[in-house]
């Protein structure tokens, strides 16, 4: 199943913030985690993650720091900030509302495929 591009874009911020709540991480690992969580259903052009990370950094939701991988490769590690946590809580309520609203309609009927 392919998820609509706009929906992926809307999900991007809470997804990245929620992954960073689990602990400090870096670009490649964040994308791996996204793939793992969605079972490959959320298709993300890898390169687009970095401008997003920079925007979140500019907004103060995450902090960034250069470090090194265990193999000695240079890596930029990202860490969620207090403002980021607050933002995630806010996003979470919004998604919960959206989920509840749609679920109220769809929960009682059969899935659109008719299965």
């Amino acid at each position: 199943m392919n998820i609509d591009k706009d929906l992926v874009a809307a999900m991007a911020t809470p997804l990245v913030l929620a992954i960073l709540v689990e602990g400090t991480s870096y670009g490649y690992a964040i994308l791996k985690r996204v793939r793992e969580l969605s079972g490959g259903d959320v298709e993300w052009t890898d390169g687009m993650l970095y401008p997003l990370l920079h925007r979140l950094e500019r907004l103060g939701y995450i902090g960034a720091e250069w470090g090194a991988s265990p193999e000695g490769r240079r890596r930029r590690y990202y860490e969620i900030t207090e403002a980021g946590r607050a933002q995630l809580v806010e996003q979470r309520t919004q998604w919960a509302t959206a989920n509840r609203t749609l679920g109220a309609l769809w929960g009682q009927t059969a899935s659109p495929a008719g299965a």
């Binding site: 490649y28 052009t45 890898d46 390169g47 687009m48 970095y50 240079r74 890596r75």
Partner: protein, 447 residues
């Protein structure tokens, strides 16, 4: 083997990402780190380096999409790229060198101005010799930057020295018209020395000469822009200072103006070299706007002059006006040729250029004919010879240009021939200027 291929591909990809300036070096590091990690993961499951690279790049996304996304997030970078060059060692040295030369000429002009105040010196001397305090500095700057070979540099120094000596040893009469002619032509003669230095002494190559022609046009645009800004600055300074310190105005005009004008000569030259891409977009646009306008103006004037005749008010001032007109037309034509894509065939712009040149020639021939009619009546003077000579030099050039443009338009010649004609003609201009500076004053008894 494969390892090096992958490394080459990664560095090519990195260069492509960095192009355009939206992605900073550190961002490229981050992206490259991602790419490498993805490649080694894919290799771990059995793919070859080449295959792993292809898939990893595909996952990262199209380079232009990535850079567009970075540009959206970091819009300021693109502007900085244009306005302030990223400071690195080479660039810093280039700026410092340029500023040192600009400051030298600014100081030299002040020295010259103070010498004028000494007994025995005159205003006329300053006006005549001021270019000697500016343009040789610019030539020296290029000789240094372009690493002009020592022997050729020596020739340039000798030429400047000879010009300076001759001009200052000539016993000009008070208010001599030959002195005024020298004041006008000496900067042009020195500009050719600047050209020799600009070409690093390699003055025979047609392509290098074309570069110099292009440089001259772009330098003029930059200088005009700086002059415009400087004019506003000085004007406002005077307006602000006048109420509280009227005396300061004189100081501004005597100190800031000459030094600024001299320093800007070097700064403009540096800008042409540093910011080539900015003006390269402007030059074709400017010629595209003004060539047709001048064509219309020239055509209209030619018709009016043809019907009415050159009139009884004709005098040598009019000849000067026509010299100026021909110079502007020539400048427009040469600049247009330098901006045109040599590989392209004839276009509408070439036709417009031909109209402008032919109209200018027709106009000039009308004026010249009536000039020759009267020359017996008034005899030759230095001014008249200078104007007439320049007129003939320009006329020959424009006739050649018209002929070659016609051949181009009828498909019997190539654009490169016009370029060669112009670059080959440069020594004729240089020779004529040398004649005016060095030969005319003695011939006319320094009057």
């Amino acid at each position: 083997m494969t390892v090096t291929i992958v490394e080459t591909r990664i560095s090519e990809w990195r260069a492509a990402v960095l192009r355009g300036g939206a992605v900073a070096d550190t961002d490229a590091d981050e992206l490259e780190g991602h790419l490498r990690e993805q490649i080694s993961d894919l290799e771990a499951v059995g793919l070859t380096g080449d295959e792993a690279f292809l898939i990893a790049v595909k996952r990262l996304g199209e380079v232009h999409q990535i850079t567009a996304e970075f540009a959206r997030e970091h819009g300021d970078r693109l502007w900085k790229q244009l306005a302030i060059p990223r400071p690195n060692d080479g660039r810093l040295r280039s700026i410092v060198t340029m500023l040192a030369f600009a400051a030298s000429t600014a100081v030299l002009v002040q020295l010259a101005r103070m010498l004028t105040a000494m007994p025995g010196a005159s205003e006329a001397w300053f006006v005549r010799d001021v270019s000697l305090f500016v343009l040789p500095v610019l030539a020296a700057y290029f000789a240094l930057v372009r690493r002009m070979p020592g022997r050729r540099a020596l020739v340039a120094v000798t030429v400047v020295g000879a010009l300076a000596l001759a001009v200052n040893l000539f016993p000009f009469a008070d208010g001599a018209s030959t002195e005024a002619l020298v004041a006008i032509h000496l900067p042009v003669a020195l500009w050719f020395v600047v050209g020799a230095a600009y070409m690093g002494g390699d003055i025979r190559a047609s392509a290098r000469r074309m570069d110099f022609i292009r440089f001259t046009g772009e330098w003029a645009i930059y200088y005009a822009l700086i002059a415009l800004g400087g004019g506003v600055l000085v004007g406002l300074t005077i307006a602000v200072l006048t109420p509280i310190a009227p005396g300061a105005v004189v100081q501004v005009i005597t100190w800031v103006l000459p030094s600024g004008a001299a320093g800007a000569v070097v700064v403009a030259a540096w800008l042409v070299e540093e910011k080539k891409s900015v003006i390269e977009n402007l030059a074709p646009v400017l010629t595209a706007i003004f060539t047709p306008l001048f064509a219309v103006m020239l055509l209209g004037s030619a018709v009016v002059y043809g019907v009415v005749g050159s009139g009884r008010e004709f005098d040598r001032d009019l000849l000067f006006v026509f010299d100026l007109l021909l110079l502007v037309v020539l400048g427009l034509v040469v600049y247009g040729i330098s901006a045109r894509d040599g590989a392209r065939g004839a276009g509408a712009m070439d036709a417009v250029r031909l109209v402008a040149v032919v109209a200018a020639i027709a106009l000039d021939v009308l004026v010249l004919a009536s000039m020759f009619e009267r020359v017996g009546e008034f005899g030759f003077t230095a001014n008249r010879v200078a104007a007439l000579g320049l007129n003939l030099v320009l006329l020959v050039n424009l006739t050649g240009t018209a002929w070659l443009t016609l051949r181009l338009l009828t498909g019997r010649g190539q654009a490169i021939r016009i370029e060669r004609w112009q670059t080959g003609y440069l020594p004729v201009f240089a020779a004529w200027v040398a004649v005016v500076v060095l030969a005319l004053p003695p011939i006319f008894g320094f009057a």
